[in-house]
């Protein structure tokens, strides 16, 4: 197997005309581009914050009775946040490490390992399932091993092989959370917009004209805001799905990463991820 990799690597280097890499690693341009794009794909972090801060936004629209329940929900959502972000941090660090292995640069990521340190809270309130917690722990170990060894004796192939199951679980957790964020956002949206649909028709006295006008302007702005947010949920989910698919393809084609077909496929995923990122930055 090692021989096959070495032969493949030799061919690739010859094709690309790039210099020889150290530690037996190869320059896998598309793997690197895909890993970099995966590390940078956005949406999830911002939507996690948005989910955490739901109460702040909906509070002015709530009746006292509803606000009591909403306050409890606020605490529940805040309890999830740290774990939600920790998962993303682990995935980003994995993709950065993979990107390094696929290229020739070597810089030290060991300071970042400390971020993974304490693990997930994994309380019943954290919103995560046991398998996600296990995946997080597995991922932390893998990254610690690879990064602490200074990437010695590590190939992209080994990293993809050892990491795939955990990568998929972490992405699954991120997608599950994003779906719940979205459902929650839907109820928030309807809470915020709903009052206007009812109160505006009730306000038809002459001395209420100014109030009604202001309400209509506010409703318009809020409607636009939520439309834009909906788009971000779409993009975030698309991004996570592409990362999952791209990594799965690498795992399936672990020994052919320098083959034309796989390189083409990965280049496409990398490009799609960049388009998604641009969409989020618009």
């Amino acid at each position: 197997m090692l021989r096959r990799i070495a032969v493949g690597a030799g061919l690739l280097i010859a094709l690309l005309g790039t210099g020889c890499a150290t530690h037996g690693s190869v320059s896998l341009q598309e793997v690197r581009a895909f890993a970099d794009a995966s590390a940078k794909v956005g949406g999830y972090g911002e939507l996690s914050r948005r989910y955490r801060d739901t109460f702040e936004r909906e509070r002015p629209y709530l009746s006292p009775a509803t606000e009591r329940v909403a306050r409890e929900n606020d605490a529940r959502r805040r309890a999830v946040y740290d774990d939600a972000v920790a998962i993303q941090r682990a995935l980003v660090l994995y993709m950065q490490t993979l990107g390094l292995l696929a290229g020739e640069e070597r810089y030290d990521l060991s300071a970042r390992i400390d971020d993974l340190g304490s693990g997930l809270k994994a309380s019943t309130e954290s919103g995560l399932q046991q398998r996600h917690v296990v995946a997080y722990t597995g991922m932390s170990r893998l990254l610690t091993r690879v990064i602490a060894s200074g990437y010695q004796n590590r190939s992209v192939e080994a990293m993809v092989r050892d990491g795939d199951a955990d990568v998929q679980q972490l992405l699954d957790a991120m997608m599950s959370l994003t779906r719940l964020y979205r459902k929650t956002n839907e109820n928030e949206k309807k809470t915020v917009l709903g009052i206007f649909n009812v109160e505006i028709p009730f306000s038809n006295r002459n001395n209420e004209r100014m109030l009604v006008t202001l309400a209509k302007v506010h409703l318009q702005n809020k409607t636009t805001e939520y439309k834009l947010i909906d788009r971000r949920y779409d993009l975030a989910m698309q991004g996570l799905t592409k990362v999952a698919l791209g990594h799965q393809k690498m795992r399936e084609n672990m020994h052919r990463l320098n083959g034309d077909e796989v390189r083409h496929l990965l280049a496409n995923y990398g490009r799609d991820l960049n388009i998604i990122r641009d969409g989020l930055n618009e």
């Binding site: 709530l62 329940v69 719940l180 649909n197 028709p201 038809n204």
Partner: protein, 194 residues
Amino acid sequence: MDKTTPHSTHSPAANGNASGPSDTPDSPGHAAASTSPSPSLRKPSAGNALSTRQQVIELADGLSDVADRLHERVLAEIARHDGRAVPDRTQATMRALLDDEMLLRQRANALYADAAAHVIGGLAQSQARLVTLTAEAADKIRRIGIIGEVTSLVGGVLALAGAVASGQATPIVLAIEKIQFHNAALKVLTPPAA
């Protein structure tokens, strides 16, 4: 929401003979027919009690759906006045229903927040029954002729949502009975579906 909300079953109301609580019986007569399409039949997943993440999410979807139907119903009721002033009493009823709708949304969001690990022990009622009940309620809210009756049906659903949040079996069973009784009472009041 990415339209995964459960829909229901035009199944007949459960047996029972008591009426639900009636607090705001402002009854402006038959509401305009809802414009939303007829809900399609959807089978809730099998399984016992509210024990998995997916089941918790399904119930939350069901509550969100009840809130959506309620909102439609309130708007339809307002539309009946066709731009004319809405009487204060009707306004008060609509506002009360709007509050109920918001509370349902908070209850749904509570379940979403719990979705991963929310396990309710000792609950005899099957999850399928819970989901069907909320779906039936959502459907009835669209069709009940008398808006005051919507108010008390929603009261039953809110009690269910609150009981689920408390995680205790007894209040859940009581809330279910309340909705069932109410459904039975409504059978008498409800005009034939359009």
